[in-house]
Amino acid sequence: SQTIHQWPATLVQPVGSPLSLECTVEGTSNPNLYWYRQAAGRGLQLLFYSVGIGQISSEVPQNLSASRPQDRQFILSSKKLLLSDSGFYLCAWGQDEQFFGPGTRLTVL
């Protein structure tokens, strides 16, 4: 069966520091992968999606970037965090139905 992992679970970072969040999927190959952000427990905003290694599409202009160095690995990064980057970050895989990882709660102080 497929599983999706995200780490870390929580993160507190100062403004201006770099960020790297990792997501890996097991039990499937060539999955579509997605990064979402959720603010204040409300709806999810799609940040990036990838249909294959090295292929990244960005949905909204922002301070973040994404990379897919391996088939089942998706990384969300920032060179310098802003206060507005705080939120709950979710990785997902799938096409019709999407299945979500456990999420990373990021607080930027």
Partner: protein, 110 residues
């Protein structure tokens, strides 16, 4: 831009009540509509609807899509405290992208 709108934004009921959550969408390239339940962490999948008028059921939860009205409802009968959660509606378009509504926060009191 596609938009998914959920109502109500929040709802407080007592155990045993029946609730109906609404979702409307505006889309030019509709593929399917999905409902998720989110408790403390990751959203968990409930239903995927692609055909109008066909009800999907899972225990006390059911959902139906109306393509003419561009809407869907999620019903929960005989609510329990464990149903307290955020219910998210999303619309799937090309490349499997999901556009989410704001969510409905459901609180069920004993």
């Amino acid at each position: 831009e596609d938009k998914v709108v959920q109502s109500p934004l929040s709802l407080v009921v007592h155990e045993g009540d029946t609730v109906t959550l609404n979702c409307s969408y505006e889309v030019t390239n509709f593929r399917s509509l999905l409902w998720y339940k989110q408790e403390k962490k990751a959203p968990t999948f409930l239903f995927m609807l692609t055909s109008s008028g066909i009800e999907k059921k899972s225990g006390r939860l059911s959902s139906i899509l109306d393509k003419k009205e561009l809407s869907s409802i999620l019903n929960i009968t005989a609510t329990q405290t464990g149903d307290s959660a955020i219910y998210l509606c999303s619309e799937r378009t090309s490349y499997g992208k999901l556009t989410f509504g704001q969510g409905t926060i459901l609180t069920v009191h004993p």
